[in-house]
């Protein structure tokens, strides 16, 4: 396994932390007021899904965990597992729900996703910044309520509930940030 510097960190970097593989889910540079610089990270365990914080010295070298991205089709859920299939090799992979976090709300069966694979195990998904989903249930915005900028909730095709501006109608497609579940724009 190779080593990388903290300068190479991205949100999809996988590193060894306390002997276990982890994904860097967040990182930011910190200058604590004098002298050296640091990188504060949030690391998600690929084994347990538990998220921990750790602050590295800037430039510190860290062991990288090799992870490849493979395109796979999402098939169905089985208990707490989400089952994906590689359409070229027909291999199936299970991803536990806790590795997918909020993303589980926006998965559409039969759609193709970028699955992250470490050795023989699928460890997560590389989600786009936006997912486009059709609104399947929406109430009309209250009449005359145009000034307050109020919001309402709608249901999208995956069953997730999303808070949107009043002008969104049933049948429209909207863009959602799958990490936070917030409405971004009309797609």
């Amino acid at each position: 396994m190779g080593t990388i510097s903290t300068a190479d960190f991205t949100k999809n970097t996988f590193v060894e932390f306390k002997g276990e593989p982890h994904q860097i889910v967040e990182f930011q540079h910190v200058n604590p007021g004098k002298g050296s610089a640091f990188v504060r990270t949030r690391l998600k365990s690929l084994k347990t899904g538990r998220v921990q914080e750790f602050t590295y010295k800037s430039g510190e070298s860290v062991t990288e965990v090799p992870v490849v991205t493979r395109e796979m089709q999402y098939l169905y859920t089985e208990g707490d597992n989400y089952v994906f299939m590689d359409n070229t090799s027909y291999e199936q992979f299970n991803i536990p729900a806790l590795m997918l976090g909020n993303y589980v709300n926006y998965l559409k069966p039969n759609d193709v996703y970028q699955v992250l694979v470490n050795g023989e195990e699928a460890v997560g998904l590389r989600f786009p910044k936006k997912v486009r989903l059709k609104v399947t249930e929406a109430t009309e915005g209250a009449k005359g309520n145009t000034v307050s900028g109020a919001t309402k909730t709608v249901i999208v095709e995956t069953g997730a509930v999303v808070t949107v501006p009043l002008f969104i109608k049933e049948g429209e497609t909207i863009a959602i940030d799958p990490e936070t579940g917030t409405y971004l724009e009309r797609a």
Binding site: K18, F27, Q28, H29, V30, N31, P32, G33, K34, G35, S36, A37, F38, R40, E53, F54, T55, K57, E60, S61, V147, S148, G149, A150, T151, P165, F167, L184, E185
Partner: protein, 342 residues
């Protein structure tokens, strides 16, 4: 999507952004009551500060013949305020834009930010601690606030803890031992931190502070952490009774660092020595070397009155009151929306 467009689509978002004007009005009203002078300090300056960790924005000033002079964007109003205190200004404050480069990829930083600094003449850092308690109380209004689902009781007195006590309490480190570089290396190694030949004491100190202490500060109640080791004294006076420590404090609310204060160093000789040490550090880090402001040393030679002051991140105060986890959510035009690289 740009913020203005989001506001256009979802007008209920305006409320969050209007928190800023409320905070700034409360700050001005607080210092008006305290009879402080408000000073407009320059943003375009001729000398950047001698602080090794800062990356400054450089620009060029031209005269009519296009003769160039180097110019920089201010990183803090501290030096102009201190020069004016030498001139006899007295208690003063500034709320102004400051700029720090290479502070991207962070939900706590924007390269352009609003800073509040105030200085009290004849005061030491304990007086500034009390100012902080009263100012935050005046801004928040009622005695509690909720930040990211955490209730914070902001009525005083806050939690006051020294750096040494915090190392004991949160990291189980005896700070008397840790002040010895050799022992500090042993302690850090035992905790599993990576040590290199060139790892400095200050790096070990900060790594333990950032990993084991800072996230625990200001939980439930604001925390004032004080008496910083002399190695990270910056522009603070050393304690007379124990020169291993400096009269510096920081205050935290819900893990957010909001302000950094000192009993100000008034000794021009020591100030110049620290500038030279900072410049040596700038060199070691391979950053651009600038000449420091000799006019500031001249001013100190005439005599900065005994005083104490603080820099507070106004955007972070706004974050706290608007209950947002990202500084960008308090700005109409955050750099992350305006520039591609961020």
């Amino acid at each position: 999507m740009k913020t203005w467009r989001r506001l256009h689509d979802t007008p209920s978002l305006w409320e969050r952004y209007f928190v800023r004007e409320k905070v700034i009005r409360a700050i001005r009203s607080f210092f008006e009551t305290e009879k402080f002078h408000e000073i407009e300090t320059p943003i375009l300056i001729s000398h950047p500060p001698a602080e090794s960790y800062l990356d400054v924005f450089e620009t060029t000033l031209l005269d009519r013949a296009r003769r160039p002079a180097k110019a920089y964007l201010s990183t803090s109003p501290e030096v102009p305020l201190k020069k004016l205190m030498v001139a006899g200004l007295g208690n003063c404050f500034a709320v102004t834009k400051s700029f720090r480069n290479m502070e991207t990829q962070s939900n706590l930083h924007n390269p352009e930010f609003t800073i509040l600094e105030w200085y009290r003449v004849g005061a030491d850092y304990c007086d500034i601690m009390k100012d902080c308690e009263r100012l935050v109380a005046a801004i928040v209004g009622n005695g509690t606030l909720t930040y990211q689902r955490q209730k914070i009781d902001i009525t005083g007195p806050w939690e006051w803890i020294t750096v040494a006590e915090a190392f004991k309490k949160y990291a189980d480190v005896n700070f008397d031992n840790f002040l010895d570089e050799k022992k500090a290396r042993g302690i850090a190694a035992q905790k599993g931190y990576t040590l290199k030949e060139r790892t400095t004491w200050e790096e070990l100190y900060n790594q333990i502070f950032l990993n084991e202490i800072e996230p625990r500060l200001g939980q439930g109640k604001p925390t004032i952490i004080y008496e910083f080791p002399a190695a990270v004294a910056a522009l603070a006076k050393l304690k007379k009774s124990d020169p291993r420590f400096a009269e510096r404090f920081e205050f935290y609310i819900a893990g957010l660092e909001l302000g950094d204060a000192y009993s100000e160093l008034t000794d021009p000789v020591e100030q110049e020595e620290r500038f030279h040490a900072e410049l040596a550090e700038v060199k070691r880090l391979g950053k651009t070397l600038y000449d420091f402001d000799h006019d500031f040393i001249d001013a100190l030679k005439i005599g900065l009155p005994t005083c104490s002051g603080i820099a507070v991140g106004v955007d972070r105060l706004v974050m706290l009151l608007a209950d947002t986890a990202d500084i960008a959510d308090t700005l109409f035009f955050p750099a992350s929306e305006e520039f591609d690289i961020i």
